[in-house]
């Protein structure tokens, strides 16, 4: 385990003054301390005004995404000793995902704005297939589900959107594409036409440059690029 002397250069933003600055915090931390624990330690011991976002703090909700030395990741999943190992330094630049949505304060971005990308693809069943008679569930074969199940694990942390080389402008982003792809592949969705028009619109999958950055940074290890490739190849429907 061991103790580390950590330097965090945290990008701060004051919405009232409309000013950005970088503030340096130095702290001692045990090797398995998570970055969310570091932020909390700063609040409790040094500076209660540092503002950051989190919720579940075990990789299930996607509320604590930040960029550490440029890499988008979940602050709850990054342990100090792993960060030292990964970046070969004890000094870390900590930034909000400011290329996904405007910053509200410090490390907190406007998640409602970020989610507008996801809302545009309608992350629900638009036109549900009528359920079988007699109060039954739809029968869906495990083999068919296997094709899209991985994509349902997305937690909308927006790490992929932040890392994507083409998402900041017209592309809705990899996670929004995943939400659309899930329903395009879901046999309970009858509205396939609108789904496909959205995926192949000017904000859709053809904006993707196949850099695979999404798959590379995904904290849930979803092969996002694989699903986008399926869409591009017109291979979403069952063979």
């Amino acid at each position: 385990m061991g103790t580390y002397d950590i330097t965090l250069n945290i990008h701060r933003y004051d919405p009232e003054e409309k000013k950005s600055r970088v503030q340096t915090y130095r702290l001692k931390a045990g090797g398995i301390t998570r970055f969310v624990d570091l932020f909390r330690k700063i609040n409790d011991e040094d500076d209660p005004t540092l503002t950051w976002s989190s919720s579940c703090e075990h990789g299930q909700c996607g509320a604590c995404s930040v960029k550490i030395n440029g890499k988008p990741l979940l602050a709850c999943e990054l342990l100090v000793e792993n960060a030292v190992d990964l970046f070969k330094t004890t000094t870390f630049d900590v930034e909000p995902l400011d290329n996904v949505a405007p910053v509200v304060r410090d490390l907190v971005i406007d998640m409602e704005k970020a989610y507008e990308r996801v809302h545009k693809v309608k992350p629900f069943i638009i036109n549900p297939k009528p359920p079988p008679a007699g109060g039954k569930e739809h029968q869906i074969s495990p083999k068919l589900m296997e094709r899209y199940l991985e994509a349902t694990r997305c937690i909308n942390c927006f790490c992929c959107t932040s890392a994507c080389i083409s998402s900041t402008r017209k592309f809705l982003g990899p996670n929004a594409m995943l939400a659309a792809i899930v329903r395009a592949m879901d046999p309970r969705e009858l509205e396939k036409q609108e789904r496909l028009s959205c995926l192949f619109s000017e904000h859709g999958v053809y904006r993707c440059h196949s850099s695979f950055a999404c798959s590379f940074v995904c904290p849930k290890q979803i092969d996002v690029a694989h699903f986008i490739a399926l869409a591009k190849a017109g291979a979403l429907q069952e063979e």
Binding site: N43, D44, P48, E112, R188
Partner: protein
């Protein structure tokens, strides 16, 4: 410059949902399906509904499939009643169990990705306490979405709301209920993102604000679960019910508190203390590691309290070890890969070669805002507060009594959520319009005090002391001595909190301000839990008193606790509904006051 605490905007709606987790979204979805023109505003404290605590639930949803020839509603009702240690309300148990399967279909038909069996039907699995034939054999009753059932519910209910017309306001909290003459007209809301106070007037106000796990320093709960809804009603002079009924899971991973599933013990994991001694044999000579949850939790806590725990250097939390090193490669790879990955991910430990630190972790609050079977909030005299509802973990109807069965909490969210939605949809047209002249009376003073405090105290440090105190003194083990010490500490911390100056005077996304407000809520819930635990001189379900280790008939009632002023406690009681027993139908005798033995 002094911050402006005046209400800057008034909004009107048919239904105001405080908390956009699974329960709140199920309510909203039901209203919108039945009344597509209804105007609904849903508030969430987090940055987006998907970040709610519901999303983290893993296990499943218990529901009797009517086409299953081996299972029966009576078995599910019996298991819930027995598990509750005879403190669930039978009218609620019956209503929820009966509507369970319909609610599973509701979710499935709207796109939840339930796991399937080889035929494409919903898979089912078994969980502790779920049985057939009144305790004879395990029942396969829980449907699930892999290990992310809560996420499935969250995504589906949120998606259905989004599909209809609903207004979400993120990163805001309800700071004062607007109640006059036993009727609720809405509430005052603080929007963190804009730094403004809003007045939202509603025909129906639904509190669905989730649990209070942050009262304890090791918890499986999200960061925002600070019992805000409970504090909101207590501040309005209304009571809470059974606040002392708090569930602890025996093996939370130190320090994040993440659940290390029961599976670890069922595959042969051994609990050891600092001397490497396998201690379960002392507490449960036959069952050892496989003893029931509450017993294992008490055994671990005993070891820690008697000085045989280990202090975790990084998290400053005492724990014991779970030893998985002797298990075969196959067990590690096939049966416990998920939990292994938590240890690897959050502790950089390899369970195949190293001991893993665990300790009891706060998990669930059975107690909450007292409601009837329709989710309508009641005062201490069982009088309904018109227009006010509570649902989900913050509420107590009570489906769980003093101990909740695995997979029954998600079921409660979607069934009670549906009932509340029904009730509101039926009544919305007949409800009187809101009065215009009702304004918040107390929130302003509260926030003024926050900004005017000039002491040196730090909110974070006070919160940390409070949470350690609650874990040590009012956690798994309770006694008169410990609880009175805790109460004294809480009162002292309350006084300290009043002297905690804020470092920033802004209202916009001021995390310290929010944390100061949360601290008041945590202090309120802590005192409620402690005082009720003190009052209940018996052990029942998850509430265990060292000094009164047995269940006592004289406490066969719900605790009703209110607090007119901080620290000034009034305790009343509510009868436990035993209508199934009294109904005298087939098997009624199973619903008498029975022993909770497994």
């Amino acid at each position: 410059m002094k911050p402006d605490l005046k209400v800057t905007e008034t909004m009107n709606c048919d239904a105001l949902i405080i908390g956009a987790g699974g329960a709140g979204m199920r309510v909203a979805a039901e209203i919108l399906e039945r009344k597509p023109d209804a105007k609904i505003i849903a508030l969430t404290k987090v940055s987006h509904p998907q970040k709610s605590h519901t999303s983290t639930a893993q296990g499943g949803l218990a529901a009797v499939d009517p086409s299953d020839p081996n299972d029966a509603l009576a078995f599910h009702m019996f298991d819930t009643w027995k598990g509750s240690d005879c403190m669930a309300d039978q009218n609620v148990v019956k209503k929820i169990c009966e509507s369970a399967w319909d609610q599973i279909l509701w979710l499935e038909n709207r796109g939840m990705h339930f796991s399937r069996d080889q035929y494409g039907s919903l898979s089912k699995r078994t969980f502790g306490g779920h049985t057939r034939n009144f305790g004879e054999v395990s029942a396969f009753r829980a449907v699930f979405e892999a290990d992310r059932t809560g996420k499935g519910i969250m995504d589906t209910t949120w998606g259905e709301c989004l599909k209809q017309n609903i207004t979400f306001i993120s990163q805001c909290v309800a700071v004062e209920l607007l109640i006059r003459d036993d009727r609720c007209f809405g509430c005052i809301v603080f929007s963190q993102k804009t730094g403004t106070f809003l007045r939202i007037l509603a025909k129906a106000t639904v509190i669905a604000s989730g649990g209070s796990g942050q009262v304890f320093n090791v918890t499986t709960n999200c960061r925002q679960n600070t019992g805000d809804g409970l504090a909101l009603v207590m501040d309005a002079g209304l009571p809470v019910m059974d606040p002392e009924a708090v569930q602890f899971h025996p093996t939370g991973i130190v320090g994040p508190g993440i659940l290390a599933s029961e599976t670890l013990r069922s595959v042969g994991g051994i609990l050891r203390n600092k001397d490497n001694e396998p201690f379960m044999v002392k507490y449960a000579p036959k069952m050892k590691e496989l003893a029931p949850r509450d017993l294992v939790a008490r055994a671990i806590e005993s070891e820690i309290r008697e000085g045989r725990g280990i202090l975790h250097p990084d998290h400053n939390i005492e724990h014991v070890w779970i030893d998985l090193r002797h298990l075969s490669k196959e067990v590690h790879e096939k049966q416990i890969p998920e939990v292994n990955s938590f240890f690897m991910h959050y502790l950089n430990l390899d369970p195949r070669t190293e001991l893993c630190p665990v300790r009891p972790s706060n998990h669930y609050h059975m107690g909450g805002i007292p409601t009837n079977e329709f989710g309508e909030v009641e005062d201490g005299g069982r009088q309904v507060i018109e227009g006010l509802y509570a649902v989900g973990e913050c509420a107590a109807a009570s489906f769980h009594g003093f101990n909740r069965l695995a997979t029954n909490s998600l079921l409660e969210l979607i069934t009670m959520g549906k009932f509340v939605g029904d009730r509101i949809a039926e009544r919305i047209d007949a409800e009187p319009n809101s009065v215009k002249n009702i304004n918040g009376e107390v929130y302003k003073k509260k926030f003024e005090d926050y900004f005017e405090a000039r002491g040196e105290n730090n909110t974070g440090r006070i919160r940390n002391s409070l949470r350690s105190t609650m874990t040590q003194k009012v956690g798994v083990f309770r006694s008169e001595k410990d609880i009175s010490e805790a109460i004294e500490t809480i009162l002292d911390l309350k006084a300290q909190a009043e002297q905690a100056a804020l470092n920033g005077q802004s209202l916009v996304m001021n995390q310290e301000l929010m944390s100061r407000w949360e601290l008041d809520n945590l202090l309120t819930i802590s005192i409620a839990i402690s005082e009720a635990a003190m009052h209940r001189k018996e052990s029942r379900g998850a509430h265990f008193r060292d000094d009164y280790p047995n269940r006592s008939e004289e406490f066969n009632y719900h605790t009703i606790l209110s607090m007119p002023q901080f620290g000034q406690i009034e305790i009343g009681w509510r009868e436990v509904d035993m209508s199934i027993f009294r109904g005298g139908e087939v098997n009624y005798e199973k619903f008498d006051i029975i022993e909770r033995k497994y």
